[in-house]
Symmetry: C2
Subunit: 146 residues, 2 copies
């Protein structure tokens, strides 16, 4: 098994609350979320840094992040906005060296809640939360293919 935790999740060898996957990427809830629904999108192919990431994989990561953000606004999470954030390098606060995109759900007036979330970083019923996001993705797919 891979020594990289995100590779292990991508390969199915480590548990995670998955919200989305395709041939190029896997998306799952951050185990130390800043907010409910805080999701990470990772490329299946290991790349420590942006320097190592195949641009096609990078595009797939972003595409999935955009889609998950749109799904969250349609889900019971009822988000008002999203921060998509990729921290590349220790200087930029990267902590896991398998490049990943944070999909951070936002709500109007959530600054205090976010500040508390940043300090606590505790999961909020991850299986239910992941199911809500998956339902939002299903809703998005239904809109596109009615």
């Amino acid at each position: 098994m891979s020594s990289c935790v995100f590779c292990a999740i991508a390969e199915g060898g480590a548990p995670a609350s998955r919200v989305y996957e395709d041939d190029d990427v896997v998306a799952f809830l951050d185990i130390r979320p800043i907010a409910r629904g805080h999701t990470l999108v990772v490329p299946r192919i290991h790349a420590a840094r942006l320097e190592d990431l195949d641009p096609a994989s990078g595009a797939a990561v972003f595409r999935a992040g955009q889609r998950i953000a749109r799904a969250m606004s349609r889900s019971e999470l009822a988000t008002d906005g999203t921060n998509l954030v990729l921290n590349d390098g220790r200087a930029a606060f990267q902590t896991v060296f398998h490049t990943h995109l944070h999909v951070l759900p936002r709500w109007t007036g959530d600054r205090v809640r976010m500040g508390i979330g940043l300090l606590r970083r505790r999961p909020h019923d991850p299986e239910t939360t992941a199911a809500l996001i998956r339902a939002g993705l299903d809703r998005l797919t239904s809109e596109e293919h009615p």
Copy 2:
């Protein structure tokens, strides 16, 4: 002329310190940079929110952001890392409603400098800075096609 400032820049009708452009995107220095080299990548086709952004344009935006980040590390800016950040929606601190990706250069031990930059947001000789990033992009292209 467009009433959207980023459309105006993309169309060449408003000034900007450009660092990169292709058929899908334009990248230029933020006029209120948090750090020297702080760049914005915008799709040429207007999209207020992630909801409105064609996924192919979004992928092109990310691809350009990744490339600019790699170029900065090769440039005289000599960055150690990068934050790629897309703020979608007022709740997520979006201020210009033409979706855009921030490419924020980072250096080891820059936290105090970043804090000051976040308060000041003043340009640092933008024409020279843009030229340095363009030179980094040329260096990257030379590596790829020696």
